[in-house]
Amino acid sequence: MSIRVNPGFISELEKYGAADVQKCYHCGNCSAACPFSKEPFIIPRKSMRYLQMGMEKRLQGTLEPWLCYYCGECSEQCPRGAEPGETMMSLRRWLTSRYDFTGLSKLFYHSWKAEVLALVLLALATGIGFFLWGSSMGDINHYDGPQAFLPSSAVHIFDWSMAGVLVLLLGINALRMWWFSLGSREDLKLSFFDYLKAVYLLPLHFFTQLRYSQCESKRPWLVHLVLMLSYVTLFVLIMFFLHEMQSGPQVDWRVHIFGYLAAAGLVLAVILAIRGRLKKDLQQYRHSHASDWLFLGLLLYVALTGVVQHVFHRTGYEFSANISYILHMMGVVPMLLLEVPFGKWSHLAYRPLAIYFAGVAESALLKQNQQQITEQAGAARAA
């Protein structure tokens, strides 16, 4: 059965950042340079080929873009300036939009104006909502105590409700990712045991980003690791220790020391990433899509407003603390609602899942490749 090629697809991918993939003539230098390219996952050449030929079905089932960390070695070795590293980045964006069942992801990647508009509208709704909600519960001049404007118990319920919504959205998208890459493939025979024995890969790679550390340049991995650990720490503190975090005004060092470290780590990592993208001093920082800037901008905004509201609270400016709390939430809510299921942040799930799925399918794929080679050799002999 032959597959129809689609020559228009390559232009569609331009909206996701792949501006140079047409220059590739498949010398294979990129795959020779890539530390992760190994049968059955040939990175990045195989995905580049599917992209050039517009083979969307094949491409939406490929895991290879998620197995790449954009060390940029491939782009440096490319004799034609086809930017394989940036192409893989664009494919991650495209895959994100493919996994997303709502179509919002596609809309945002196609138009940064739409994304900004959605962010602003959500921010305004959050701001108004929190102001009205806070006013109904207490006094804007009180941060702590019975008259507290935004008591931690109420915010706690809000946080968990939002987490539930995000898990649901991201979960559906992740399920679609599984369906495209493994579930729908009739040629892959995978047992429950295959899924079970690879499951350790998920937490391992989520927390250590072990594969990223294997890239030649360690700096991006370190920045990324600091950012991720800081974020996870803050996430745990907010989701499980919000009461301790928010009570005051005195500083509870047992809890807050983690918060301070994480906030510092987050701000530092974001600033380093922004600096890298401005200076373009590493391959992976040379190209920036609008979605990259929005993501970093939001992170920085959320981190700084969080710090500001904390400082106001501890120094007794309770009105300002409440105002900055609303401003903080006006960043947090749109960021999480748009970025986690539909945007760049979804990679927190897709990357470890891809490593897990790749681990599940690896031996089956290798066996299949071997079989194909044997069949081809047999056919050649017969001819």
């Binding site: 232009s11 220059k23 498949h26 050039q52």
Partner: protein, 576 residues
């Protein structure tokens, strides 16, 4: 009879000879042979001190014969002949014994190899005793040149000679100049217009009084030899009548070009059956008319270009036609600039982007988002009509190599990049001017690397695509190279005739004419009045075929007399 004073010089060739052959032993044996007055070995006989040693010995020992046991005569016979000449000895009184290529390089048994080298040296000693001093001769030459073919190569060659001030007859079969290039729109990779390239040449040719342009004309006969050919050219004058002219010329340039492969020979591309499958030359016609469209006048949305049609295949031609890859990339540029929304598929085996500017041009083809698809040598795409629900007229199916997938490609127009092949009448031209063809019909050059425009017939040159597929820069370079060779000969003013050739003893010749037919160089002529054959020394290559064929032993090969050869054999067998 003069006393024979022979000098023998055995070369070590560094270790090339000495590591297998005991050169000292060879020298000692030679020294003991009758007539040998001096025998020496030396590290490198061809070096300046080695040659000086030989020259000194010639003078000091009053040598009148020299044997050099060293490498092949093809390598250094000329060198040592010059050594002899400079020392006052006739260069033909030298004999080379090949103890390198035919001995040390092909053997590893030291004792046997030494015996063989000894025998070869003895054979040379016995042979050289009977060498005669010979002199090369010169003949006058005609300065006019005949150029066959008015394409870019022929035009360029004619211009080069005419502008140097020498008369040229430019013979073209068609009624116009330009050849195959006149059928082309733009040229790769710089997108110069073929028309501009040609018009400049043609107007200069037409305005040059040294060029006698003969359109609608063909060469009918060529006789004579370098410097003194007689050409018979027939010109059609209309009304079915023609005019015959006899032209004396000194040199001939063959620039008869190529013919494109007939795509109708391949069934699976549907050429002739599917209306929108066309050849590259048919597409050139569209480009020159400024309209890229399907047979029913629609603008194509998808264009497929298939490479290597008739080339690089076991069924048709095994060779690469060299220009099609870049021509296909030129189509990519021309289609994209004429129809920006059109999708172009370039279906190739290997992209041969070997020339100057070609790799950049290939990259430019990529940048306009051409979809390059690779198929395997030995395999081929299949073209079929598309179904009603498809948004295209045809589908091209192929096993794509870079993805490993069987794919189908939409197409409204398919361009077959037809290769080059020798013209059907190339055999007739080869016979007329006495040159050879290879298995594909291309004319054969004298040496594919070191002498690419000369042929085995002195004074006949091959340039452009009649010798093999090539692009415009290569054709033009060859045309100028041939012109330069001819101008160099004209500058000398005389034709030098080698001293070694066959001679007919008229008293013994019975006039059977067997030699006339066996000579591969058409060098033996028959004199009707005397009823005797004679050899045209300028044409003779001293191959010896006529000498062996003559039933009355009337033909003698100079420098290859029976006595010389018999003595050589005796020398060879003396040790056995």
């Amino acid at each position: 009879m003069e006393e024979k004073r022979i000098g023998v010089f055995v070369c070590n060739c560094g270790t090339n000879i000495a590591k297998v052959v005991d050169c000292e032993k060879v020298r000692k044996d030679a020294e003991a042979q009758p007539g040998v007055v001096v025998a020496r070995t030396y590290k490198y006989m061809c070096s300046t001190p080695g040659q000086e040693m030989i020259a000194n010995d010639i003078k000091e020992h009053r040598l009148n014969r020299v044997v050099v046991s060293a490498c092949s005569p093809r390598m250094h016979e000329k060198t040592f002949r010059n050594t002899c000449r400079n020392a006052g000895l006739n260069p033909y009184l030298l004999e080379i014994a090949n103890i390198r290529e035919q001995c040390s390089w092909v053997h590893d048994d030291t004792q046997a190899a030494t015996e063989k080298a000894t025998a070869l040296t003895r054979a040379a000693i016995r042979r050289v005793e009977h060498h005669q001093p010979l002199e090369s001769r010169t003949a006058d030459m005609c300065r006019d040149t005949l150029v066959l073919g008015g394409g870019i190569a022929g035009l360029t060659a004619a211009l080069e000679l005419a502008e140097a001030g020498y008369p040229v007859y430019l013979v073209e079969r068609a009624d116009h100049l330009g050849g195959n290039l006149a059928r082309v729109d733009l040229t790769a990779p710089y997108l110069y217009s073929a028309r501009d390239l040609l018009l400049e040449r043609i107007s200069r040719v037409r305005n040059n009084p040294n060029v006698q342009l003969m359109l609608r004309s063909e060469l009918k006969e060529l006789s004579g030899f370098v410097g003194n050919f007689q050409a018979v050219v027939e010109t059609k004058t209309g009304n079915g009548s023609s005019q015959i002219r006899r032209l004396p010329v000194g040199n001939v340039i063959v620039a008869t070009g190529y013919k494109e492969f007939d795509a109708g020979r391949i069934a699976y591309y549907g050429y002739g059956r599917l209306p929108n499958v066309i050849t590259s030359f048919e597409f050139e016609r569209m480009l020159r008319a400024g309209r890229i469209e399907t047979k029913d006048g629609r603008t194509p949305r998808y264009v497929g270009i298939i490479h290597c049609v008739g080339s690089r295949s076991a069924e048709y031609h095994g060779y690469c036609s060299r220009v099609c890859c870049m021509t296909a990339l030129k189509y990519v540029q021309e289609i994209k600039s004429a129809i920006p929304g059109c999708h172009v598929f370039d279906i190739y085996i290997d992209m041969h982007a070997f020339g100057k500017g070609h790799e950049d041009f290939y990259k430019k083809g990529s940048e306009v988002k051409t979809m390059f698809l690779m198929y395997k040598k030995g395999d081929h795409p299949i073209i079929r009509a598309a179904g009603k629900r498809d948004d295209c007229d045809m589908l091209i199916e192929v096993d794509e190599q870079l993805s490993g997938e069987r794919i189908e490609i939409p197409a409204d127009l398919v361009i077959l990049m037809v290769g080059m092949e020798a013209r059907p009448d190339a055999g007739e031209v080869a016979r007329l001017v006495n040159i050879s063809q290879d298995k594909d019909g291309w004319f054969i050059e004298s040496h594919p690397k070191l002498d690419p425009v000369a042929t085995t017939t002195d004074g006949v040159y091959i340039v452009g695509t009649c010798a093999a597929p090539k692009d415009i820069p290569d054709s033009v370079a060859q045309a100028r190279a041939a012109a330069a060779r001819i101008l160099a000969r004209i500058a000398k003013g005389k034709i030098e005739i080698d001293a070694i050739f066959a001679e007919v003893d008229e008293d013994r010749c019975a006039g059977c004419r067997l030699c006339n037919t066996v000579c591969p160089f058409s060098a033996v002529e028959f004199d009707e009045s005397k009823r005797r054959s004679h050899v045209v020394a300028a044409l003779c290559k001293a191959c010896g075929t006529c000498v062996a064929a003559c039933p009355s032993s009337a033909i003698k090969g100079r420098h290859f007399t029976d006595q010389q050869i018999c003595n050589q054999i005796e020398g060879l067998l003396a040790g056995i």
